[in-house]
Structure formats: structure tokens, C-alpha cells
């Protein structure tokens, strides 16, 4: 009797999950119309959590999280490049030999996290979210127009336990990813993308987890517009020109 009821609830929940939108995005007007759309981006190390949840505890698989975070960035890089973006990936190979880069990444990440702790999607267009000067410095050091921060979470529950623990407020299996684009010149938050994926209960192989990462990367990028240089009006002026012009104006 309990088994039958659980199966009915499982079917209902699965239908709900499939019918719910698996991705969403929010952008500033300027990002949408291309005015602040970057040509080049740098992908920050992904904040990834892979948890094997039990009813009252979790095993946090940190090393797997690091591995799948890198995989997520690789997938996102390929998808962005296919849409015309130049992409840098900030990984340990890039970070280890460069203490100044490490400093900028840590500071920019802190500024970003603080910004996101106050984030309300409906206020994105009013441009009140700024990741701070460290984000701008980091973008300048990397030579990119924008920084991309991502986080991804995959929770696996044991077979048969997911529905029960879900009903009583416990952990359900699932996967989601967020990706945010920060303007490298201004530090403003320009766009957020969200993706979710259904994870069935039960143990997962590496191939299974890789497939979830792949799905999340694709869904996150689903609504990412292409990098269209024609949409931007760039007036190139060298630093020296700016300084000379300032000099001239001050002498008047």
C-alpha cells in the first residue's frame, strides 16, 4: 500500500518537474540589445557542490565537485565560442604561477558573492548591482570584457528514499546551475542564467554525473545571445589621446 502511494507521488512529482521550466534568464536591457554584450569573457572557477544526501546527513564530494566544475566550464566555453565569444578559463594552471591574479580572483569573487547576497531579479534592470572595483581590475588583468561566475549543485539521494525525505522536508535529488555575467568595465551585473535538471534517486556513475553537467551547461546557455559586434558602438580612443584631451581641456 505504501509502495503504491509512493509510486503515485513519484509520478506526480516527476510530471511536475518535467513541466516546470528547466531554464530561465534575466538580463539588463543593455545586455539584451547588445550595448553591453561582451566580445570576450573569462570563466571563473565554478562553485560546485556534489552531495550524496542521506535522510539526516550528507557526504560532500568536494574533489568530484572540483572536477565537475572544470567540466562545466569546458562545456560553457565551447558553447560560448560557438556563439562568437572569445573565452578565457581561469583555472589552477592559470592561477598557480600568478599571485596577483590569485589576489584579484579572490577579491572579485568576494565582491561578487556579496553583491549576489543582496540580489533581487526584479531590480536587475535598475543597475544597482555592482561587483566592485576588484571585478574591473580582474577583467582588465585578464584582458576581457566580462567575467562569468557560475555555481552548480548536484544532489544524489539513495534509491527509494528521495520521495519520503522530500515529503518530510529532507533533501531531494536534483541539479541546478546559475551563471552570472559581470561587465568588466563597470562591474555591473548584466545577466543571470539559471538551469535545473531532474536527477533520479539512486547511485550515479561518473558518466551519469558528466551527463548532468552537460545538460546543465546546455540549459544555462540556452538563452545566451551571441556576441554580435554590430550591436555595440565602440569608439576607440587610446589612453594617450584621453590624457592629451584632458590636458587640453584643463588648460582652457
Amino acid at each position: 500500500m505504501i509502495g503504491a502511494k509512493a509510486r503515485i507521488v513519484a509520478t506526480w512529482l516527476a510530471a511536475l518537474a518535467v513541466s516546470a521550466q528547466a531554464f530561465a534568464e534575466k538580463t539588463t536591457v543593455e545586455f539584451a540589445n547588445g550595448a553591453t554584450r561582451p566580445k570576450s569573457v573569462a570563466l571563473m572557477p565554478v562553485e560546485t557542490t556534489v552531495n550524496r544526501a542521506k535522510v539526516v546527513d550528507t557526504d560532500s564530494l568536494v574533489d568530484q565537485g572540483l572536477r565537475y566544475g572544470s567540466m562545466f566550464n569546458e562545456r560553457v566555453k565551447a558553447l560560448l565560442e560557438s556563439r562568437g565569444y572569445a573565452v578565457e578559463v581561469v583555472d589552477t594552471n592559470r592561477l598557480n604561477p600568478d599571485p596577483q591574479l590569485q589576489e584579484y580572483v579572490v577579491e572579485a569573487t568576494r565582491g561578487f558573492k556579496d553583491m549576489m547576497s543582496k540580489y533581487k531579479p526584479k531590480k536587475l534592470e535598475s543597475r544597482i548591482y555592482n561587483a566592485g572595483p576588484s571585478a574591473k581590475l580582474l577583467a582588465q588583468k585578464l584582458g576581457v570584457d566580462a567575467l562569468v561566475f557560475s555555481n552548480m549543485s548536484v544532489t544524489i539521494t539513495g534509491a527509494g528514499k528521495a520521495i519520503v525525505s522530500g515529503l518530510f522536508g529532507g533533501t531531494t535529488s536534483g541539479a541546478n546551475a546559475n551563471l552570472e555575467v559581470v561587465n568588466g568595465k563597470t562591474g555591473d551585473l548584466e545577466a543571470t542564467f539559471l538551469a535545473i535538471a531532474l536527477v533520479t534517486p539512486g547511485d550515479k556513475t561518473d558518466e551519469d554525473l558528466a551527463a548532468y553537467v552537460d545538460t546543465l551547461a546546455k540549459r544555462t546557455m540556452n538563452r545566451m545571445p551571441g556576441s554580435d559586434p554590430n550591436s555595440r558602438i565602440d569608439v576607440a580612443q587610446s589612453d594617450d589621446d584621453v590624457l592629451n584631451e584632458a590636458d587640453a581641456v584643463l588648460k582652457r
Partner: protein, 430 residues
């Protein structure tokens, strides 16, 4: 940063847990249960996470200092899964933590606030006590028996959520009893060493300073983490009869000066200006002729924005502190600045803070006329004071004096937009 608002949330959540009555730590050998090996594995993996996210602070002087003292104080481990290792994490919050595998991490923000090696020894002795007493494992055993849902902890962003449930109290604080035990045991470690046990209550006094006025003393928030002032008093009474020893300052100050300036810069960037100012003020008084440290002081005054300086945070009411905490957690710096500037007090404070910053930047140039960064500071102040021509002149001087400055192109961008403004206002006038 592990902001006050996040600690507020975690404290509230921990307070909601039914707590076991602890018998205290176990300082002998503790055999791990099958499901506890994960705590040790997670501890090792967490180190990989810190490395991947560039959070390990690898300055030789600072790391050497922490490791030298840590290795002096550490006992022989009673278990083969414990290996005492000491690291510094790049984080401005005044925190240190120990994981069940013996890895001890001290934040740069903690080091920045300490006065001497003995206070650092007090921090490390406290953390070593958590490891030696197997507090992480004991707490894990007590909490997992309760009907806790991992959803409760999953909602609190700690190290990006990578912490296993059982490690979260290792990072954010154990129960009141175990923290007190670590204080007591830490004092006995200090007594047995060459360090001064009286440094322990001093270190706790340092931790209890709340420059921002964000620390409301609600019993529920801190019910699983003894209020730090109370801990300082308890440990002061404990060490009262212990001998006072001469302090080791020699290698400490040059070792941590870099971390002090880094932490002040971090606080300015992270919008904790009162803390930045308090720390910068102290440092500037100690080194009145150091252009770099005077510059930091000026930056800290600038960072105050439209807030008046809080001279005495202890005088703030709990309700003021609760309001500050909520405000800080929910609003961006720009939103708060706009609200403050809408008031007469805010505008007066803004004017006064910028004037003070300008005065100090000028003083920096008196100490060292070639210290180009002071011109950038002046440019920023003038820009906020709507003195566009002065701002442009200051930025121009900065960029020309420091052509290799890492933020050169950012300043050039600001100069460009100010030049446009000046031109437009001249056109308007003509």
C-alpha cells in the same frame, strides 16, 4: 567574506537545533565509526577546494610564523588520521578553524588583529584543543542523532556549500561547552609552552570588537556559541593565577604588516568601513611617517561615505545593531549611500569624511611627494565633491606619474568621463 549577516543566519539556524548534553572532548584515541571517515576525507578535499579557488595565502613570512608557532604547540596526535598542519586563508573575517584531520586554518583577518606572537599562540592553542579533543567528531555524533534535515544547512552558503554537514560547526563554532573547553585546554597548552597564557583573554577581547555595530546580543543568536566577551572574562579568571611572561613581538610585526594592510583594503572593498577605519587608524598612529599606511587611512575615511564615524560601538542599542545588520545584509552600498545622502546628517558626514580624506592624502604627499597613489585618492575625493577640474588634474597626475599602475586603464576611463563632463559644462556656459 563570511559576513556578519551570514553568521547571523547560521547562528539562528544552529540555535534552532536540539542540542545534546556534551560530556566534553576526548583527548585520547578515538576510533572512527564507518560513516565518519567521510569527515576526514572531506577535510582533505576542502584543502583542494581552497587551492582551486586561490584562497590559500602563501606569503612565506606569514606562513612561516604561523607554522613555527603551530609546530611548537602541537601535541603528538593520538590517532593516525590526525596530522597537524597549519595554513593561512585569504579572508578578512577574524576567524580560525580546525578540521578533524588536524588541519588548522587562520584567516588573514584574524592575523591582522593580533598584537604579538603570544596572541597568535593563543589562537592556535585553542584550535589545537579542538583537534586534540576530537570536538569535530563528537559534535558530529551528537548532531546526527537528531532529526536535522540537510536542507536547513544547505540553505546557508558556506565555502560555496561544499562543507559536509559534520564540518560546518568546525568552521563556524562548536557548542558553548566545547568552545569553553577549547579555551580552557588552550590555556593549559600555553602554560606548558613559553607563551603567555594572558594572551588568551586578550585575543578574545580582540574578537569581540564590533566596529560596525552589527552584532546584536540576542540570546538565541549566540546560544550555541558563547558570547565572546563572556568567554574573555571566564578565561581572564582562569589565567589570573598563571604567570605572566614576556611577549614575543620581534618577528611578529614585520611578519604581519602586509596582512594588516591587506585586511584593511579588504574591509574597504567589502564595505565594512568602520572596521577599516579603526584598524587603519591604529596602524597610522604606529607609523605616522609611512606614506602607504597614511594613504590607507585616507582610503578608509573615503570609504565611510555618508556614515558618521561610530566612536563607541558599545553605546549602540541592540535595536540599532539589528537595524544595521538588516540594512547591511539587504542593501547595496549605493542604496545605503543614497538613503544617507537624503538626510542632513548623512550629507554633513559625507562632507566631513571627504574633507578628512583629502587632508590625509595631502599629508601623504608631504611625507613623500612621489607617492602617486595619493593623487588617485585626491581624484576620487574631488570627483565625489563634484570638483571636476581638480579631479581631472589629480587623475592626470596619477596616470602620468604611475604609467605601470595596475588600475591605470580604470583611472583613464574615469578621466575620460570627467573630461566629457567638463567640456559639456563649458559648452553650457558658453
Amino acid at each position: 567574506m563570511f559576513s556578519q549577516s551570514r553568521r547571523f543566519l547560521l547562528g539562528a539556524l544552529l540555535a534552532a537545533l536540539p542540542l545534546a548534553a556534551y560530556a566534553g572532548g576526548d583527548y585520547g584515541s578515538v576510533r572512527l565509526h564507518d560513516d565518519e571517515q567521510n569527515l576526514i576525507d572531506s577535510s582533505k578535499q576542502l584543502h583542494n577546494y581552497f587551492e582551486a579557488h586561490a584562497l590559500l595565502y602563501n606569503d612565506d613570512k606569514v606562513l612561516g610564523l604561523v607554522r613555527r608557532i603551530g609546530h611548537e604547540l602541537r601535541p603528538m596526535p593520538a590517532d593516525d588520521y590526525v596530522e597537524y598542519e597549519f595554513y593561512v586563508l585569504r579572508d578578512p573575517s577574524p576567524n580560525a578553524f580546525a578540521l578533524p584531520n588536524g588541519h588548522v586554518y587562520v584567516n588573514t583577518g584574524m592575523l591582522a588583529r593580533l598584537d604579538d606572537e603570544d596572541q597568535l599562540a593563543a589562537v592556535l592553542a585553542h584550535e589545537i584543543s579542538h583537534v586534540a579533543g576530537h570536538h569535530g567528531i563528537i559534535e558530529h555524533r551528537a548532531t546526527k542523532k537528531k532529526a536535522i534535515t540537510s536542507m536547513v544547512f544547505g540553505g546557508v552558503p558556506i565555502f560555496g556549500g561544499v562543507l559536509a554537514l559534520g564540518l560546518q560547526t568546525s568552521v563556524y563554532g562548536f557548542s558553548r561547552e566545547l568552545e569553553q573547553e577549547a579555551d580552557d585546554h588552550g590555556a593549559s597548552i600555553l602554560l606548558a609552552s613559553r607563551y603567555d597564557p594572558h594572551a588568551l583573554p586578550e585575543m578574545l577581547d580582540t574578537l569581540s570588537q564590533d566596529y560596525e555595530g552589527l552584532d546584536p546580543r540576542l540570546p538565541t543568536i549566540w546560544s550555541t556559541h558563547p558570547e565572546t566577551r563572556a568567554r574573555a572574562e571566564t578565561s581572564r579568571a582562569l589565567v589570573a593565577s598563571m604567570p605572566k611572561r614576556e611577549r614575543s613581538i620581534g618577528a611578529f610585526e614585520p611578519g604581519v604588516l602586509g596582512v594588516r594592510t591587506l585586511t584593511i583594503q579588504d574591509y574597504i572593498r567589502d564595505d565594512y568601513p568602520q572596521t577599516a577605519l579603526a584598524l587603519a587608524d591604529e596602524l597610522a598612529k604606529r607609523y605616522p611617517n609611512d606614506a602607504r599606511l597614511q594613504q590607507l587611512l585616507a582610503d578608509a575615511w573615503q570609504g565611510l561615505g555618508a556614515q558618521p564615524r561610530i566612536e563607541d560601538p558599545a553605546a549602540l542599542s541592540n535595536s540599532d545593531k539589528k537595524h544595521n545588520l538588516k540594512d547591511h545584509a539587504r542593501k547595496t552600498h549605493e542604496q545605503r549611500l543614497a538613503e544617507q545622502l537624503a538626510t542632513e546628517t548623512g550629507r554633513a558626514a559625507y562632507e566631513a569624511n571627504l574633507a578628512r580624506a583629502e587632508q590625509i592624502y595631502r599629508h601623504v604627499l608631504e611625507i613623500d611627494p612621489s607617492y602617486a597613489v595619493a593623487y588617485r585618492g585626491l581624484g576620487e575625493v574631488y570627483e565625489q565633491q563634484k570638483r571636476d577640474r581638480d579631479a581631472a588634474a589629480a587623475y592626470l597626475t596619477y596616470v602620468r606619474s604611475a604609467p605601470d599602475a595596475p588600475d591605470r586603464s580604470l583611472v583613464v576611463t574615469r578621466l575620460k568621463s570627467i573630461t566629457v563632463k567638463i567640456k559639456e559644462s563649458s559648452n553650457d556656459r558658453s
